[in-house]
């Protein structure tokens, strides 16, 4: 079968072998009211209130948001402001944990019998896409229409990310049970789970767990970045092509991350909303890379301390990982619920300057969407909107493969991101 282009990243196996371990309770958690793509929530508690784990502390007022819950039990000390990765100022609730981790009485297993129940549960649980994007899961379920195929994303193709791999190795049954629940409620006959083929342990555990389950198949994916991107994942797991300007839902496919699927199952059993996050802390500046189970809102600084990371040598501190991650500030950043990785990269001694394009064509051969990234760059320099449109700039998903391979060290992907801004909306 034809495979889409990509790049081979030097994966560090070391992280993938570290089991998921619970992180000790921090002295203070700060929970931002915006931890999804959409509108921020409104705080429902005030300073001095005592809260319990799983208690709703941010109400979703707008239709494009899901509630936020307390990740620790303790006392609210203040309502402050938090600057998100996308540079938005949102309210943030600071809680001093009491160490007891009392679970709120509101946390009762929901009754899920129909698709509507499922959508409501996804909304109330504060479920977002756990692969980093933070898209609203209930929206995805609503928009899915009548899918005939469920694809679970276990690709996790970036450097320094291993939490999905750990989940598949340690509790594969949660994922399979989640898939069975979704298949039953959404009347889907088939599920395919894409896992990177260079993770044989995860593939084996998952295959064992779904043995005897009709309609669930494990699909090994090439060990190439990007595999987790929706279009690439769908094509490599079932051969379907998502056409331009369409989504997976339009071709009858529902794509969810394995962690999201496992969370939905766990929520259906326990009723505890999304208050804990599995995060890989790694990078060249981190001495003891770990896979941690962290309460949402834990300050990034605590995690770096725990993993023996020297703050002075950090050059780039990233939410996510090196290919698509976004820069965060050490001082006030916290772990948010869609964050799957915290990557601290050592400051580079020598920063290579971008030189002129030598027309080697590496970017073109690395582009999973078969675009010509450097031609799009040139079109942007001449402000040629027509050339940007015929070059299908819209298909670019900013995976960064072009910048990664560029021998002239040009920020090809970033220039194309800027070029998207001059495209007229269609």
């Amino acid at each position: 079968m034809k495979r889409l282009n990509g790049v081979r990243l030097p994966h560090t196996k070391r992280i993938e072998e570290k089991p998921l371990t619970p992180f000790p309770l921090p002295a203070l958690v700060r929970i931002p009211m915006l931890m999804h793509t959409g509108s921020p929530c409104k705080p429902t508690v005030s300073a001095g209130d005592s809260v319990a784990v799983g208690q709703c502390i941010g109400a979703a007022e707008k239709p494009d948001s899901v509630p936020v819950h307390a990740s620790v039990s303790g006392t609210v000390t203040a309502i402050s402001e938090y600057r998100t990765v996308s540079e938005e100022n949102v309210p943030c609730i600071e809680i001093r944990p009491d160490g007891k981790q009392t679970v709120s009485g509101d946390c009762v297993p929901p009754e899920i019998n129909t698709k509507e129940d499922l959508i409501r549960a996804a909304k109330e649980s504060g479920c977002v896409g756990l692969s980093g994007a933070g898209d609203l899961t209930f929206r995805k379920l609503e928009d899915a229409g009548k899918p005939d195929l469920l694809i679970l994303n276990g690709a996790e193709c970036e450097h320094y990310l291993a939490v999905d791999g750990r989940l598949m190795t340690e509790s594969p049954s949660d994922i399979i049970n989640g898939a069975l629940m979704l298949m039953k409620l959404l009347k889907i006959k088939e599920t395919r789970i894409g896992i990177r083929s260079d993770r044989p342990v995860a593939v084996k555990r998952m295959a064992e767990a779904c043995e005897g389950q009709k309609g669930i198949r494990i699909i090994p994916l090439p060990a190439v970045y990007p595999q987790g991107a929706e279009k690439v994942l769908v094509f490599h797991t079932c051969g379907r092509v998502i056409p331009e300007k369409q989504t997976a839902a339009d071709i009858g496919v529902l794509v969810l991350n394995v962690a999201t699927c496992a969370f939905l199952y766990r929520y259906s059993q326990t009723g505890i909303p999304l208050v804990e996050r599995a995060v890989t802390v790694a990078g060249t500046a981190v001495r003891k890379p770990c896979n941690l189970l962290v309460p949402v809102g834990t300050p990034v600084r605590d995690l770096l301390e725990y993993t023996a990371c020297d703050e002075d040598i950090i050059g780039d501190l990233l939410c996510g990982s090196t290919m698509m991650g976004e820069k965060i500030k050490l001082e006030d950043a916290v772990i948010i619920r869609q964050q799957n990785g915290l990557t601290a990269m050592r400051r580079r001694k020598l920063v290579q300057r971008a030189s002129d394009c030598i027309r080697c064509g590496s970017c073109m051969r690395a582009c999973p969407m078969n675009l010509m990234p450097m031609e799009l760059n040139r079109a942007f320099y001449r402000q040629d909107i027509r050339a940007l449109q015929t070059g299908k700039l819209r298909l670019c998903m900013n995976c960064g493969c072009c910048s990664y391979v560029c021998p002239a060290k040009r920020p090809v992907a970033d220039i194309n991101q800027q070029a998207k801004k001059i495209l007229p909306a269609d």
Partner: protein
Amino acid sequence: MKKRKIPSASPYIRSNANTSKIMLYVLLALVPSALAGVLNFGFSALLLLGTTTGTAIAAEIIFRTVTGKRQTVQDLSAAVTGLLIGMTLPPDIPLWKAGVGSVFAIVIVKQLFGGIGQNFANPAATAKIFLLVLFMNDMTKWRLPQTAQTVDLTPLTGAHASYFDMLLGNTAGCVGETCAIGLILGALFLYLTGTASPFAPIGCLGSFAVLTLAGGYDLPAQLLSGGLMLGACFMTTDYTTAPLTHPGQLLFGIGVGVLTFLIRHYGGFAEGIPFAIVMMNLLTPWLDRLTKPRPFGAETEEKPVREKPKRKFLSHKAS
């Protein structure tokens, strides 16, 4: 192109590929054949290669300094051009003439178009043509290897040589063109390290071989003599002046092969490869457009409807 401030953005990790390394690999790939040239033609060949390489580097530094542009000499592309030029010249050409070729290649062909990645014609091939046209006599004076005996003919123009001698480079000819085995080894190194793709050379040598066989010529002698091997292995694979796509490169190579055959047998010059390469360079943008990859999941493209301009000059006649 306007200068823009380039912000740092994702990805925060880069591969270890870089331009200097690519050019260094090309230089390394040229070493076997250049070394064979020096061993065969002695110190004067070494001096020639040194002159062309040095002049090319100096020309690049001086031009970039005078025009106030950032220095690009560290990317080693000027060194590659200079060495290639030296390799395409006869061993006894006066050094100043060789230097003129280097300056022409760097300043006129490369830098005036904006430097690395911007020129449309292959600098080394163009310089070879320039020198051939300008200094016809010096460019066709040959010497037998290991001797001081000058000859008028090379294997390409009818001198007798065994296939084995031609493979090893033990014949009269240009410094870096005679040792075919060295060139082939260098080219293999380039493909194995992923520096160049083999499509253009395959197209070039393949189409040339087919035509040569069809025309009833001596195939091994034709393939191993003259500048064909050097041009096919190192000039058709130039990133800047050859097409980007693999099908484009194949078509480009086929074009070079066909033109070389035609010029060699029906043209006024004994050697056709530099002319063929520069002619095909002109077609590169068109070949790129022809073989543009289809974006994944893209709608089939509609051709823009171009409105015909109204013919105004007819209207006053009617009124």
